[in-house]
């Protein structure tokens, strides 16, 4: 449990840690919008901005990449699929399979969008306590009729709390099965189910234990929430974010 996990809060006192959670949430939404709709120059600027923030936050890149290797496989798959499926001037062909120049560019662009969205999410979760996220979600939904803001907020907070734990469990199960030579079984469906079932069972068991522990400490859903107040630095951050992200959305 002691290992660093992607998508988990990393305690610290850096710039993003000190910002109001609503500013961080606005920044995350802005960054995701830019990542999903901007052209290459916009993506490049966003990439530089996120890289700068990751340096300021001192996010350890190597362990993160190691833990996100499955995501890297997914990216490779997306790239190959786009390269094969996009029509254009053929670069290489073998039978029915043709890779086009436009496909490679399109695949690269799609993967960049996914990576930038992931990085924005990583930065947000690394600098935001689940309790803060819960407060922000509650603040957003409290005036929306028909939505149980308190319950939605608790679910959001617990989801963030549990994500790294599930990743750790999956890794432990994978290692336990590798120790019993599961890699010799070539059927991917067999291997996936052999990992997924114990992970699911253990996850539900942990959820049950956590619920019991929370109940024993008087958890009812109503709590002292961290106070939300926009400081001068939050206003500055909002202004800078708006100044950077809005033009990028228009590129």
């Amino acid at each position: 449990m002691a290992e660093l996990t992607a998508f988990g809060y990393i305690p610290g006192n850096c710039l993003l840690h000190r910002l109001d959670v609503r500013v961080k949430l606005a920044g995350l939404l802005g960054a995701c919008t830019v990542a999903l709709q901007s052209a290459s120059p916009g993506l490049l600027v966003l990439g530089l901005l996120l890289g700068l923030l990751m340096t300021i936050q001192r996010l350890p890149l190597k362990p993160l990449l190691r833990q996100l290797r499955l995501f890297c496989y997914l990216l490779a798959l997306v790239w190959v699929a786009r390269a094969l499926a996009t029509p254009g001037v053929p670069l290489w062909s073998w039978g029915l399979l043709t890779i086009s120049r436009a496909g490679i560019v399109e695949g690269g662009l799609t993967c960049s969008r996914l990576v930038l969205t992931l990085l924005a999410g990583l930065l947000f979760t690394a600098a935001t306590r689940p309790a803060e996220l819960k407060t922000a979600v509650h603040w957003i939904f409290r005036r929306v009729p028909g939505i149980p803001a308190e319950r939605v907020a608790v679910m959001a907070g617990l989801m963030i709390r549990f994500f790294p734990v599930i990743l750790i469990t999956a890794e432990q199960v994978r290692q336990a099965q590798a120790a019993r030579c599961i890699q010799h079984r070539k059927n991917p469906i067999y291997r996936t189910t052999r990992v997924a079932l114990p992970v699911l069972r253990k996850t539900f068991q942990m959820a049950d234990e956590l619920a019991l522990a929370m109940e024993s400490r008087c958890y009812t859903g109503r709590r002292t929430d961290p106070g939300l107040s926009l400081q001068a630095r939050d206003r500055w951050a909002l202004t800078v974010l708006a100044g950077l992200l809005i033009p990028l959305m228009l590129i």
Partner: protein, 248 residues
């Protein structure tokens, strides 16, 4: 703060009996060890003391008030440290983890901060306040769990197998904490089958077997009979030496 258990029985959802007609009284400030083989009902009994389980028959009273009638009050007065310290960690930092309980009581933020700081100081984790709980050692995690209970102001603390998966140093850390809390007048109830480590600190020993309370008395008297019920008698007792804990 007294805990009274009267004719308590518990039947699990599959129909199997968990506890059968248990009655006992624990006075404020007592240090009680609850022992028994695996499946004897130790954890089930503990969970009745702060209302995580409710009786099929009988009653548990904390300071004269039925646990079933006021669950929040019972949980505030009787704090519980679970067997797997990792499973009860909610906070993302040591400070947040200890603050979780007071925040659930909807205390003002200043009071939450005061209680959390004081509890962290009491368990010697003030320096680690901003650390991630998962990076603590086993003994520190147990102390953190105790800190979370102290911050809620619980006069009684129950611990379920607090020495499991701990090395010698971890066991000593927990024992020191328990001895200090007992000296300050807190009620301590420890469920364990490992009497060697802690029995010397206790005022009273209870033995459960198959959901029945079989023995209840002074540790030095009861300990001679524990092997009849699937619990190992401590070495010092076997050789007739004086009682020692792992702190000695």
């Amino acid at each position: 703060m007294d805990i009274t258990v009267k004719n308590l029985s518990h039947v699990y959802s599959d129909g199997s009996p968990g506890l059968q007609n248990i009655s006992l009284h624990i006075a404020g400030g007592e240090f009680v060890i609850l022992t028994g083989a695996n499946g004897s009902g130790k954890t089930t009994l503990l969970r009745h003391l702060n209302g995580l389980l409710l009786p099929t028959a009988g009653e548990v009273r904390v300071d004269g008030v039925s646990v079933s009638r006021d669950l929040l009050r019972a949980r505030q007065k009787v704090g519980m440290v679970f067997q797997d310290a990792d499973s009860q960690i909610v906070g993302e930092t040591v400070f947040d983890e200890v603050a979780f309980g007071p925040e659930n009581l909807c205390l003002p933020r200043d009071e939450v901060r005061r209680r959390t700081t004081s509890a962290l100081a009491a368990v010697g984790l003030l320096q680690a306040a901003q650390k991630a709980p998962h990076l603590l050692s086993g003994g520190e995690k147990r102390r953190l769990a105790i800190g979370g209970i102290l911050a809620m102001g619980a006069p009684a603390i129950i611990l379920d197998e607090p020495f499991s998966n701990l090395d010698y140093s971890g066991v000593q850390q927990v024992l020191q904490q328990l001895a200090a809390l007992h000296a300050k007048g807190r009620t301590i109830i420890v469920a364990t089958h490992d009497l060697e480590k802690v029995l010397a600190l206790a005022d009273r020993l209870l033995v459960l077997a198959a959901g029945h309370l079989i023995l209840d008395g002074a540790p030095l008297e009861v300990v001679k009979q524990v092997e009849d019920h699937g619990v190992r008698e401590p070495h010092w007792s076997r050789i007739g030496a004086r009682a020692v804990s792992w702190l000695n």
